[in-house]
Symmetry: C2
Subunit: 107 residues, 2 copies
Amino acid sequence: MQDTDIEIAELAKALAHPARLRILRLLLATPGCIGGDIVDAVGLAQSTVSEHLRILKAAGVITGEISGPRTCYALNPAALGPLAEFISTLTAPSAAVCCVPNDKELS
Amino acid sequence: MQDTDIEIAELAKALAHPARLRILRLLLATPGCIGGDIVDAVGLAQSTVSEHLRILKAAGVITGEISGPRTCYALNPAALGPLAEFISTLTAPSAAVCCVPNDKELS
DNA sequence: TTTGCCAATCGTCGATAGACGATAATTGCG
DNA sequence: CGCAATTATCGTCTATCGACGATTGGCAAA
């Protein structure tokens, strides 16, 4: 159980920064892939943004594959499953099982 | 929008620690109120636990009212609404509006 | 009032996170 | 091959977090 808690804490930590939330919103709003445009959007140094991307990737929230000279980032929402499940447990003790199986699915 | 992101980041930060997750689980499993039993359960020093409780209370995730010589803590899951909403947006881009209005309600 | 218990606060320490500039590494183009 | 563009990594600095012991404050019972 502590094992799961550590995993959930890691996920929460990945979301615990405004810049990373902004990056995720940006990835959500971008249909295909996205490269260094992120740097301009968040207004931080390139190295700082790269570090945030690394953290998100380490948490599994995003995926990054090298596509030529640039890197293609994409969302991986399924990774947030354990965290979403935990929050559901807290917010809806009786209706934890809603209508979407949001802990495993998604392409 | 950055305003909301900061709020969500604060909520995520409140969940970004195994000890705090454990405390929340404990509060969830405890029907009524709970006092210093938390200290025994998490296995940390009393001052450390008190600090975690303070962080959770500052984030609005729990409420604590003084009840005689001890303090009564209780969950306040509604506070996690913005975070839950954000995660839903990521995990279910097309089905963001599920069947539960989990951003405002709850007693 | 005095004593004892429980919780909050203070001060301190080490560890970690966040930001930056500078510096590589890799790819595509001329 | 050499150059420009893009991203990752390194080193450094500051700020914050997490844990602890010690102390303070409040409340109830003796």
